[in-house]
Each structure stands twice: as C-alpha cells, then as structure tokens.
C-alpha cells in the first residue's frame, strides 16, 4: 500500500518534471541548449524522454526500498545523469556495492589461521604449538 502510494507520487512528480523540464521541439524558440544537442534522446524522441522520466521515478522508489528517505532519494536521483539513472533502474540489484568492513575480514583471517594452526595445517602463531 505504502509502496503503491510512493509510486503514484513518483509518477505524478515524474509527469510534472517531464512537462516542465523538456520543452518540445515544436515549441522551440530561443537558444538551443547543449543537452538538446548532446543527449542521445533529442526532441524527436519524446517516447524516450517519457521512459527516462519513468526510469528516474523507478530509481527513487528503489532507493526508498533500500532505506533512503524520500527527500534524499529525490536529491540523489536528480544528480544522476540519464545513463546513470538507466543503469540504476535496470541493474541496481546486481551492482557491486562497495562496502567492505576491512577489520571484520582481518579478524576472520586471524580466526581461520588460528584454527588451521590448531589443526596443524599451518604454523603462523607460535603459541598454538607445543614442543614437539
């Protein structure tokens, strides 16, 4: 229920953003922006624009699903480029999330070597060895 509500809000927001942020070519009067020229989706591809906006709404919902607050999620998605937003929408679950807790790993290495020492497989820690 809550997610549906979020999605509906995102969708409405997305539509608002779409019509405010993307002037259509037919209404073009004034300087042509760099985005109009660089972006792969130019004025002729309104459908791609709609998809792009929906993708962003989807990323907002995914960020919230992963515990990001509504306000933060919107600010974060706003900073993404179109291709980054697309990658997030398609791939977020499979993306590597840099996270390592290095101390935890070192501790694990210590425990394992301790165990292998005690089993006689390794000889790292002198205190695990009795006189032969």
């Amino acid at each position: 229920m809550r997610t549906t509500c979020f999605r509906l809000t995102s969708f409405t927001l997305a539509l608002t953003m779409m019509f405010s942020a993307f002037p259509m070519a037919s209404a073009h009067a004034g300087m042509i922006s760099t985005a109009d020229v660089i972006a792969p989706m130019n004025a002729q591809h309104d459908r791609q624009r709609i998809f792009a906006v929906l993708e962003r709404a989807d990323v907002v919902a995914q960020l919230q699903h992963h515990g990001v607050s509504v306000a933060d999620a919107h600010a974060r998605v706003a900073a993404l480029s179109d291709s980054e937003a697309r990658a997030m929408a398609d791939q977020l679950e499979n993306m590597p999330a840099g996270a390592s807790n290095v101390l935890g790993i070192l501790f694990s290495v210590f425990i394992i070597l301790l165990v292998t020492d005690l089993l006689g497989l390794t000889a790292v820690f002198p205190f695990t060895r009795r006189s032969r």
Partner: protein, 314 residues
C-alpha cells in the same frame, strides 16, 4: 543480531577469508607490474593534501568520496555524504551514485580507470584517485572503495587511504588483481576548471555535461573553457562553451564560441541557430539572418526550427 548469528557470519567470512589468503599467497610470486621501457614517469609520487577520513562500518564509499572531494577543495565529512551515497539496504554504495554525488558539491566526476598506467599518470598529476576493488574473489566478492594517493615503482608498491588505514602500502601486483575484478573502475572529482590527465574528449564532454545538467551551464563554464583549450578542434565543446557563456550573459564570448563551433563543423545546425540569436541580441540583424539561413539549409531535425525562426524574426 544474535550471538550465534554473528558467529555464523564470522565463520562464513572466515572461510572466504582463508580462500582469499590462500589465493593471495599463491599469487605473491607472480611478476610485478611491467611498464613500457620508455615510461618516463617519476618512480615515486605521493600526493599531499589528501585528508584522511576513516570509514565506519560499511561506509567506505562516503569516506572515499570525502577524501577525494577534500583534496579538490571541498570540505565535507564522510558522515555528511552518507545520505548522498550510502544504501542501507545494500550496506554499501554503488558506482553511479559515487559519480553523481560530487555534482551536488560543485565538483565534476570523471571516469579514469582502465589501466594501471592511466591510474599512475593521474596520481603523478597530483590527483588522488577513487578506486573500486574486490578484495575477495569473483564468486565471493568483497567490494571496497579506497583512494590511491601514491606509488613507489622501485619498491613496487601503491599507497592508499583505505578503510581505517591511512597511507596503506600494498604491492602493485596485489592491488592490480583486486582492482581488475571491478574492471579497473576509478574516478576523479575535480573543480570545473580542471581536467583529468588521461581522459579523451568524448569522456570529458559527457562528464562535464552530466555536471552541467545538475549545476547549470553558468557553473559549468570553466569546465567548457578547459575542454576547448584541451581539444580546440572539438565543435561540441565550443558549442557547449557558447551556451555556458550565454548563461553568464557574456554575449561576445558566446558569439565567438558559436562562431568557432560552426567554423569547425559547418553542418552544426544548432550552432548556426544560436549564433543567429546572438547576432540578433547584439543588434547585427544581417548577420543574424545569414546565420539562420545557413541553419535552414541543413537537412535534419533542426531545419524546421531554423525555418520557423527565420519566419518569426524577419
């Protein structure tokens, strides 16, 4: 989290850590980095002025970004960056968001990875580089962001601010194996007027454009100026520079930039159209009409716009 749960997790981590240890030990004898014989870089570089932010728990992403941003002159703590890049549900940070967050702090993010040579060249140019490593194995990944701050080719070592360790020393071979598992992903955060040492025009223009979409063309102007200085033959960089000058109300500079864009690429319709608008604003009606007429002669998506504007304005 219960104690058994913790112990089980520790045991699971332990097994993987053993495998990691075995693998790394097993690889320790493999040859170190071989650079080209004509490689002229200094054998030892340590970038100074990179603040160290130790990571807390899983937050190596925010910590690495705080260090990179700090070195570029933006003072921000790792804690402040947590709401900008950390994903609680994934207990980590993903690459697109690492690239996106610096834009909110007035910095352009550039991808610079791909090879150890490129990485060392950036370090040599005085830039700390954020890298994504997999400290574990392909099938048991331990993803980790760190910041490369120096290297010593004579010792065969690389220096990183990593995790809770300031200036950690790691053998280049070992570093490269952990880095290769992220397809050698790396990034820089730079003020808009600076460019990476190793980037190509397409990559830089995309990076600056992504910044501009967030910060606006006026703030991106120094980056476009730098891009046209580095790649003076690139008409898109000149076109973007024209728009950035225009956003700052620097009309003459904008006119010159658009003129250069269409001189380099006479088929650039939007360049002619914007040049036409500028001439008109500057009161040079004849030149304005000529520019729009040029645009109207170029087949393509902008032809209709040029024709409509000719009709409307003259």
């Amino acid at each position: 989290m219960t104690r058994t749960h913790l112990m089980r997790r520790a045991a699971a981590q332990g097994v993987s850590a053993l495998l990691v240890a075995v693998l790394l030990v097993g690889c320790a004898a493999s040859p170190a980095l071989r650079l080209a014989a004509d490689d002229a870089r200094p054998p030892r570089v340590l970038v100074t002025g990179v603040p160290f932010h130790p990571q807390s728990e899983y937050q190596c992403g925010p910590a690495a970004l705080a260090m990179s941003l700090g070195a570029s002159g933006t003072v921000v703590t790792a804690d402040e960056l947590v709401p900008a890049v950390f994903l609680p549900g994934r207990q980590g940070s993903v690459q697109p968001e690492m690239m996106a967050a610096p834009r909110r702090y007035g910095r352009v993010s550039y991808p610079v990875g791909g090879s150890l040579e490129a990485l060392l060249t950036e370090v040599d140019a005085g830039r700390p580089v954020v890298v994504l490593q997999n400290l574990g194995l392909k099938w048991f990944p331990v993803w980790h962001y760190a910041v490369v701050i120096g290297y010593d080719l004579n010792l065969g070592d690389i220096y990183l601010h990593s995790g809770t360790t300031e200036s950690m020393r790691m053998a280049l071979g070992r570093f490269d194996r952990t880095w290769a598992r992220s397809s050698r992903w790396a990034m820089l955060t730079l003020p808009p007027g600076e460019l990476p040492a190793t980037t190509d025009a397409r990559t830089a223009i995309t990076a600056i454009h992504d910044y501009e979409q967030n910060a606006g063309p006026a703030d991106a102007a120094p980056a476009w100026v730098a891009a046209t200085e580095r790649w003076p033959e690139d008409e898109l960089a000149w076109f973007a520079r024209g728009n950035a000058h225009y956003a700052r109300n620097e009309l003459l500079a904008a006119r010159d930039a658009f003129s250069e864009a269409v001189r380099l690429q006479p088929e650039l319709g939007p360049g002619w159209i914007n040049l036409g608008y500028l001439f008109r604003e500057l009161g040079e009606t004849d030149k304005a009409r000529a520019a729009l007429t040029n645009a109207a002669a170029i087949a393509g998506p902008w032809q209709a716009v040029a024709l409509a504007e000719l009709e409307r304005l003259f």
